[in-house]
């Protein structure tokens, strides 16, 4: 046998390896056409479902029969599949996945810790036309800080690219025509291209998505987003915040600032900072009323009132009111000051910080609650993230310094906006002043924690939504809501903040 002549020209016997020869027949790895997640990186649950629906020729009623997804026809499938963990779990189970893919959770795409619901109101399905045509959609396209598809470079859309009608993402498609525009018939998902792309992710997508997800995971470990009570304009705010995070162009106060202080001054300041924390504690109340302004903030607060008063047109404040506005900085009324021809107003006189027994008090009714609540949340984060247990011992001097600087900036801006808004009732001329025109905004704060120590604070201000009401009315409404909550709390019932 050993010396037997060799067989020639036999392709199987001579040329094929026996390693892969098996008595078993081949089966597909995934139970639905287009469901192989290894070929499509970081797809969204909706993207996958839309692709499955198209490639497997499924009707709306098939969603429950095959995936356990019970939906109404009016439901926006993209919204449901993005925010409903139960539906995501059902889909994952139907596809034989061990767990819900990490990439289906919108929170995992944020570079800070927060809840994904922020992007829900208002929700609109956002997509890259080139990616979606191949049956690929990723939650990256929903993020407001991306305006273009990173690998195709085309603008992300929320409407039909041809007729600008809303995208047809409801669960009531015609079979084999999901994601087809109902107005012009434009097919946003092209079957042929989706089949061609089942084994091939868009060029550059995999690398970008892996890099991005690694970056956000790293950022998320350190960054925490403090969301206003009644957030408005969340998409724009998040876009701005992440833009700051990405570029590093931030209004940032970090511990290095504190380090340059001299040791003696620093020690004195530490005591003052701890006392400041105690004073800020009043902001936890439903309707705080007055804030005993911490020493570190006194000059800045007084400067806000003073600056505005000096900018106001002639004949807007009375002589006495003007003196109150300037008192904080110890400035005399200017010689050319022209007082208003009206009676002294008690309400206007309560707007500047009031000095009593050497202490300065700030009337918080002229601040929008989202402002001072952002400040006290910042304090809470600094305290709760510390390992020490005692109130004053919880925050390190550097953290305290950083938090108070940030609080000062937040309160000063909130006060400046609130002051102009309330004053506009008495001084309508303010609306004619371009820079000092009354407007209200709310702070979105990102807190950076390194080893449980607060190391940086980033703030973005976005306008507060108001419908047919002036800025002063918005403040009145917020104060009225505070009163109601205060009364409810007094009766032992807590009301949820909006």
């Amino acid at each position: 046998m050993k010396d037997a002549p060799r067989v020639v020209s036999l392709q199987l016997l001579e040329g094929e390896s026996r390693e892969h020869l098996t008595p078993f027949g081949a089966m597909t790895q995934s139970p639905w056409v287009g469901s192989d997640l290894s070929a499509i990186p970081a797809t969204s649950a909706f993207g996958l479902l839309a692709r499955l629906v198209r490639l497997n020729v499924l009707a709306p009623r098939d969603l429950f029969a095959n995936f356990g997804l019970r939906l109404r026809r009016a439901d926006d499938l993209s919204e449901v599949m993005t925010f409903s963990r139960a539906r995501q779990a059902a889909l994952a189970k139907a596809l034989g996945l061990a767990e819900i893919p990490h990439e289906w959770n919108l929170s995992n795409w944020f570079p800070f810790r927060t809840h994904a619901e922020l992007l829900r109101d208002p929700w609109s399905f956002r997509y890259c036309p080139v990616c979606l045509a191949t049956g690929f959609h990723t939650l990256l396209h929903q993020l407001p800080w991306f305006h273009q598809c990173p690998w195709h470079g085309c603008a992300l859309r929320t409407q039909c690219p041809q007729c600008h009608a809303p995208t047809a993402t409801q669960a009531d498609w015609v079979v084999d025509a999901n994601l087809r525009c109902r107005i012009c018939g434009h097919d946003m998902l092209v079957t042929e291209r989706a089949i061609a792309a089942t084994s091939l992710a868009p060029k550059g997508a995999r690398a970008f998505l892996e890099t991005y997800l690694a970056w956000v995971a790293e950022q998320r470990a350190e960054a925490l987003l403090l969301v206003p009570d009644a957030p408005s304009g969340s998409h724009a705010a998040l876009a701005d915040l992440v833009g700051m995070q990405k570029t590093g162009v931030v209004s940032r106060w970090n511990r290095n600032v504190a380090k340059v202080e001299s040791l003696q001054a620093h020690q004195v300041e530490v005591l003052d900072e701890l006392e400041s924390f105690r004073r800020l504690d009043v902001l936890h109340q439903e309707r705080p009323g007055f804030l005993q302004v911490p020493n570190l903030m006194r000059r800045a607060i007084a400067k806000v009132a003073c600056n505005l008063a000096l900018k106001l047109p002639p004949h807007t404040l009375t002589d006495r009111e003007m003196r109150l506005f300037l008192a904080g900085l110890g400035i005399e009324v200017p010689k050319g000051f022209q007082p208003a021809h009206r009676e002294y107003s008690g309400s206007v006189s309560m707007l500047p910080p009031t000095s009593v027994a050497g202490q300065q008090y700030l009337n918080l009714t002229c601040l929008h609650p989202s402002t001072y609540r952002a400040a006290i949340r910042l304090v809470d984060v600094a305290i709760n993230n510390s390992l020490a247990m005692g109130y004053h011992g919880q925050v390190s001097p550097n953290e305290a310094h950083l938090v108070l600087q940030a609080c000062r900036a937040i309160l000063c801006r909130g006060y400046a906006e609130g002051l102009r808004s309330v004053l506009s009732r008495h001084v309508p001329e303010l609306y004619g002043m371009s820079r000092d025109r009354p407007h209200l905004s709310q702070p979105w704060v990102i807190v950076i924690l390194e080893n449980s120590d607060l190391s940086a604070v980033r703030v973005v201000w976005r306008p507060i939504a108001r419908v047919n009401s002036g800025e002063a009315d918005v403040l009145d409404q917020a104060d009225a809501a505070n009163r109601r909550r205060q009364r409810a709390a007094a009766r032992g019932r807590t009301r949820k903040r909006p």
Binding site: M1, K2, A4, P5, R6, V7, V8, S9, L10, Q11, L12, L13, G15, E16, R18, E19, H20, L21, T22, P23, F24, G25, A26, M27, T28, Q29, P31, W32, V33, G34, A39, L55, N56, V57, L58, A59, R61, D62, A65, N66, A94, V175, D176, T191, E192, I195, A196, T198, S199
Partner: protein, 328 residues
């Protein structure tokens, strides 16, 4: 756990490349190159048609074009419908079938699945192998035609229809006479007759084949099937280490094996042996290697009694065409 067992001791024993499969590959290649739509593959039961076709799935060098090949077994439904046909293929492919789907949806889905797989494998030709195609009626061919028509918009198709020519229980085939012209032209123009392992080299193959089919099949166990991978230990060497060291191979006793087979055949009124069905060949090899050689550390070579015993254990006679039964 199973992978730790020697392949010959597992529930499913290893496949080997055989010369009949090689001939099938050659005919399939020629048919595809010629432009045929299907190959009508026929042969007796247990001769190895299914595994021969499976070898085509698992090997690539014979293919004239990049191909995606899938294999199916067709059941015998009482009311074969379009939906049943497509759903059956989907399910056999490991796909979850939408219970509420209309037949047209199932067919669309099935063709898309094949196109997806073709895309994934970079295939230019999609080939479906139908086991038990002898159960097909005109309706099934029409269903296959529908799938072909849909697929051919995007990719070429070529099917292998495995027909068991002695499946008398169900009649010779679902189609009694000459099939309709549109079906005949597609599926019945090229035929391959699958044989067992031939004992003699066909005259027209002597230029490329120096050993008989049986000798080549023995050589697979003697030299080609290695376990563990990369160890260089063939299956024969594993079970008959002492004999192997002394130069014994399955192939060295091929003449004696043929002699014993002919003796048995003569005793039962059968003519001289010309081919060996794959089933009894494989069972014979298993019994020789695992039971006779593997259980005897001093095994040196097979005796006539060993061979006769192994052939009886492999039920050699029972599936031989022409065997009428009787005392063994």
């Amino acid at each position: 756990m199973t992978d730790e067992l020697h392949p010959m001791l597992r529930a499913r024993r290893p496949l080997i490349f055989t010369r009949p499969a090689e001939r099938l590959a050659s005919d399939t290649k020629n048919s595809i190159e010629m432009g045929a739509n299907a190959l009508w593959l026929e042969g007796f039961a247990r001769f190895g048609k299914t595994y021969g076709a499976r070898q085509l799935v698992q090997s690539t060098r014979w293919r004239p074009f990049p191909m995606y090949i899938a294999e199916y077994s067709y059941t015998r439904p009482t009311k074969p419908g379009e939906g049943y046909f497509a759903n059956g293929l989907l399910e056999q492919h490991g796909q979850v079938v939408a219970k509420t789907a209309l037949s047209v949806q199932s067919i669309m889905r099935y063709t898309r699945m094949l196109r997806e797989q073709a895309q994934r494998h970079g295939a230019e030709v999609v080939s479906l192998i139908f086991n038990e195609a002898n159960r097909f009626t005109v309706d099934e061919y029409e269903n296959l035609l529908t799938i072909d028509n849909e697929l051919e918009k995007y990719v070429r198709t070529f099917h292998i229809l495995i027909n068991q020519c002695d499946a008398s229980r169900y009649g010779p085939a679902g189609i009694d006479k000459r099939p309709p012209r549109h079906l005949f032209g597609r599926y019945f123009t090229t035929t391959h007759s699958y044989t067992g392992l031939l004992w003699d080299i066909p005259e027209n193959e002597r230029c490329q084949q120096a050993l008989s089919d049986v000798a080549l099949a023995f050589r697979e166990y003697d030299e080609e099937l290695i376990w563990p991978q990369g160890s260089g230990i063939s299956h024969t060497r594993h079970f008959a280490a002492k004999a192997y060291a002394a130069g014994w191979r399955l192939g060295t006793q091929i003449d004696l094996i043929k002699e014993v087979i002919n003796d048995i055949r003569t005793e039962h009124g059968l003519g001289a042996v010309c081919e060996w069905p794959m089933q009894t060949f494989e069972h014979f090899v298993y019994f020789v290697l695992v039971r006779i050689a593997g259980e005897n550390p001093d095994f040196i070579e097979l005796t006539k009694a060993d061979i006769r015993n192994a052939l009886m254990r492999a039920c050699y006679l029972h599936i031989e065409p022409g065997y009428q039964g009787g005392q063994e």
